[in-house]
Subunit: 191 residues, 2 copies
DNA sequence: AACCAAACTTGCAGTTTCTGCAAAAAGATT
DNA sequence: AATCTTTTTGCAGAAACTGCAAGTTTGGTT
């Protein structure tokens, strides 16, 4: 259970993230300084760098920081992936406002998109591990790696589309749709 | 045809990239300064930033800078993708030593991997456009976007594996292998 | 309650990164 | 050669980032 420390840390972290996003949304990323962000979050400039290596990291955050490690059920792969990643979608959907703001800032400042993609990379590694565990393949076998990378790519497309649509449909539906299109990638019809 | 200017620009760019990679390989990314890199490339420190926004960008470069826009033939999608991306693979394979060095530096400094992934993002957009063109779908339709993202993910896995294997097999084979595993992602066997 | 140890914050000094601007150098054009 | 464009460079300064050595808060122990 989280003690006072953990709670306060999360508060500070969230305050920094929201301050960074709010300011970047108003003026653009490169017209905001770490000083202003820390001031808005009411911590010292030095503390900012105790939480984030760079300004950009504060904007992107660690989107899935406290998300449970994915566990795959013995289902067809796509179904198992959809099930294993559901908690992540719920968390994103739960932080709806924060995420819509974040995605708006990323859209307006495309140099951030890489970082968002990057943030998913660590999650991708954990997913590859989970797939390897469930299938009994070696973790460095190409199949789990490709499967994880593909799932990651599909989720990214879904999140971007979800945010662009302004949450008019729940995220999970966009993910389902993206996964559906996965099945068409390897059909043998001519393009 | 490229004049002296274009030639010199490419030379300078390549000199900066190789200097950055060589130094980062020797000492680690964060023990190299942009000053040292520009000195090694025999340009002024200021010039470095005319070419790259950050030190990290110099290390990752723009891997596919002068690669022709992909064009899809009317084949089954995976075959068309493999065909359309072949020039990119050849270019990478042609710059074998540079790429192996780059991937070694990236392995040793994982914070760079995101940037590599990111660099592929612009190529991914062009690919999505090409798929949309060929299929007659809207560029913002999820199918071309998912297809491009998936192809991108598969290529990334292939390049990483190719580099880790030290080019014991040609890159194109790793890509074929990764594409082959794509077909298994949506099969309906239980995991 | 008194105390201690660990975790977190802060200030400060110093290095490195990065930008804007204007002058100089090099290349292209006629 | 004269001129125009592109690239390089130096300089000044802002902002980003790091290491260190305090202080402060928190959690647990006696």
């Amino acid at each position: 259970m989280p003690g006072r420390r953990e709670i306060k840390r999360r508060q500070t972290r969230l305050a920094l993230i929201t301050a960074a996003l709010r300011l970047a949304d108003e003026r653009g990323v490169d017209r905001v300084t770490t000083e202003e962000i820390s001031a808005a979050a009411e911590v010292s400039p030095r503390t900012f760098f105790n939480y984030f290596a760079t300004k950009e990291h504060a904007l992107v955050g660690d989107p899935l920081e406290d998300c449970p490690a994915p566990v795959l059920k013995p289902l067809p792969l796509l179904d198992a992936l959809l099930d294993a990643l559901a908690p992540a979608f719920e968390q994103i959907q739960g932080d709806r406002d924060l995420w819509l703001l974040r995605m708006r800032v990323i859209s307006a400042n495309p140099q951030l998109l890489p970082l968002l993609i990057a943030a998913a990379a660590s999650a991708e590694q954990r997913l590859a591990q989970a797939i390897a565990d469930q299938t009994g393949l070696a973790p460095d076998h190409p199949r789990p790696q490709v499967a994880a990378a593909v799932a990651n790519a599909a989720v990214r497309v879904a999140v971007v589309r979800w945010a662009e649509s302004g949450d008019s449909r729940p995220l999970i539906e966009h993910v389902r749709e993206a996964f559906h299109h996965l099945k068409e990638v390897d059909d043998s019809r001519r393009t």
